[in-house]
Amino acid sequence: MLGTRATEDVASGDGAPPVRARGLVKRYDDIVAVDHVDLNVHTGDVYGFLGPNGAGKTTTLRMALGLITPTEGTAELFGRDPLRVGAHALEGVAGFVEAPRFYPYLSARKNLELLAALDGAGAKDRIDEVLEIVELAPRAAHRVGGYSHGMRQRLGIAAALLRRPRLLILDEPATGLDPAGMRDMRLLIRRLASDGITVLLSSHQLPEVQELCDRVAIVDSGRVVYEGALADLRRQGGAGYRLRTTDDSRALEMARGQHGIEHAVANEHGLGFQAEEKDVGSLTLTLGQAGIGILALTPELATLEDLFFRLTEGEQARSADGAESGAPGAQAPISERKAVEIG
């Protein structure tokens, strides 16, 4: 029969995690766009999928939605693999990958009517409601070809909400929005999450992720370099401190020589470093014995931005080292990979 890619029974998916990816790999000739990615999005998560441009986020999402075939590995949505069970796997799933795309020669309402027809299950009855939510009702009769980028993003959200999703996959939803639009988008995502929708938010906007997400995966050069709770990541990042003394240059020298003090640098506030609390105590004693007065010592938790750059720049350095050394399994440097459009 036309229209089915598999004849097997489709599992109900009840109890299965919204997203579960195991060992996802996508190669384009010699280029590894996605390299053994595992993802675990749990019910109720607002899950941030973070990475620099070209890190493989969009390619991973495309594989999860069955738009492209993985070279290796599997991705399941509520326990169902889109490549094996086709559209059944997308029940309860909505969103967009890269920018949402619509038929420019149709109005927003006609676009939504078309998508509602492809959704079935009474989606057409929700068109007015979702247009109201994204505040496009007054422009619903206008052709999408004349819409701004921000309006298309909002229409993308409306199209996703038509499906009454249990899992919402949003790929850079705030890209191209003005500050007010970004704020509104964040509020909407938070509201949808509070309504019980699991959200998988792909982004390179760190403040957005820090504000919205409780769990994150950080991907760089096609590999997941961290997956887990955002709070755990920040704890793992270690406590940071700011220090101002009567002689910052000598204090920096001594801090760098002190056991347990890491990443000591001079900055506009004096010094910055990371350390366990006990090692901070030892440092203050050492400085005091050396006749250096402490003017201010302020603890700071690492921000997501700090951690992100620490993880991703560390990965880049390791990749470059591996490539130069010709070590077995070494990947191409990131600059080379970014030369290829991998979505």
């Binding site: 890619r5 489709v10 559209a87 998508l115 492809l118 109201e132 988008m185």
Partner: protein, 293 residues
């Protein structure tokens, strides 16, 4: 955006096996998309304008006292309005109607790929096979509409100019006007057999190349190549198996007695083009990575 107004009605709730759309639903939307696109009307215009130009030219020719041509219908054109749709089909069948069919068939998948809307529809509750079937059906529907629109225009214009009268067949026998009208309809229906094979080739190129212009031009290039093969000395033996030869399959209907052999022959010859083209296009569509847009 009014995040504050996000009602619980769109909140998460269990969705278990909702009623899914049928292929016919998708096909209807494919037709609605065609209706909304300007390029659709180019093919329809070909089907309308050519018969009108033909009738106008023959009326002027008649006015200046010129006689008929080599073809029996050319000599009969001013004797019965029903000769007009036969002649316009004869003239349009080799290039204009395949061009009109290729305009949509070559575009129907490639444009969606280029615009990124393929990913939009493939992440809804429809399978790729359904989308493919709907697109093939829509392209074939369009080709059918163009052919019958052209025939209807030619018939109405011809009858308006020269009346609804009996018509002479290729065999020289005379058939009544109502039967002549039926034969015109049947001839156009028979012509659809090779034209739908052209549509299939267009869909294959549209799916495989992901480039609308390349697919449209490629489809025409294939038909022109097949037409050229017929005039290459030494390849006469291939002629009965060429798609372009089948454009004339309907001639047997306009003989007395009716010669059905060319129609049966065209059915299986065209199936040799249609089947593999659609099968290949289906497999490409099913397995392709949707990475555009």
């Amino acid at each position: 955006m009014s995040s504050a107004t996000a009602s619980p009605a769109v909140a998460a709730r269990a969705v278990t096996h909702p009623r899914r759309p049928t292929t016919m639903t998708i096909w209807r939307w494919e037709l609605r998309k065609l209706v909304a696109q300007k390029r659709t009307y180019l093919g329809l215009a070909i089907g309308i304008v050519f018969p009108l130009i033909f009738v106008l030219a023959q009326s002027l020719r008649q006015h200046h006292g010129h006689g008929g041509g080599d073809n029996i219908f050319f000599s009969e054109v001013t004797q019965s309005g029903l000769a007009t749709p036969v002649l316009t089909l004869l003239l349009e069948s080799a290039f204009l109607l395949p061009l009109a069919a290729a305009l949509v068939a070559g575009d129907i998948v490639a444009t969606e790929d280029g615009n990124g809307t393929l990913k939009t529809i493939l992440t809804r509750s429809v399978d790729r096979g359904q989308v493919f079937a709907a697109k093939v059906l829509a392209a074939m529907t369009y080709a059918t509409i163009v052919v019958f629109l052209s025939a209807a225009t030619a018939t109405i214009a011809g009858i308006s100019a020269w009346g609804f009268k009996h018509v002479v067949t290729f065999s020289g026998s005379v058939v009544s006007a109502p039967k002549g009208l039926l034969l015109v309809f049947a001839a156009n229906a028979c012509y659809l057999i090779p034209l739908l094979a052209v549509v299939s080739i267009g869909v294959l190129l549209s799916t495989a190349t992901r480039n609308s212009a390349a697919a449209v031009v490629g489809t025409l290039a294939v038909t022109l190549l097949l037409a050229l093969v017929t005039v290459i000395p030494g390849l006469e033996g291939a002629q009965p198996y060429l798609l372009t030869t089948e454009y004339n399959n309907w001639h047997g209907l306009l003989r007395t007695p009716t010669d059905w052999a060319p129609i049966w022959h065209s059915l299986w010859v065209c199936a040799l083009y249609t089947g593999p083209a659609l099968a290949a296009a289906y497999l490409v569509f099913l397995r392709r990575d949707v990475a555009g847009g």
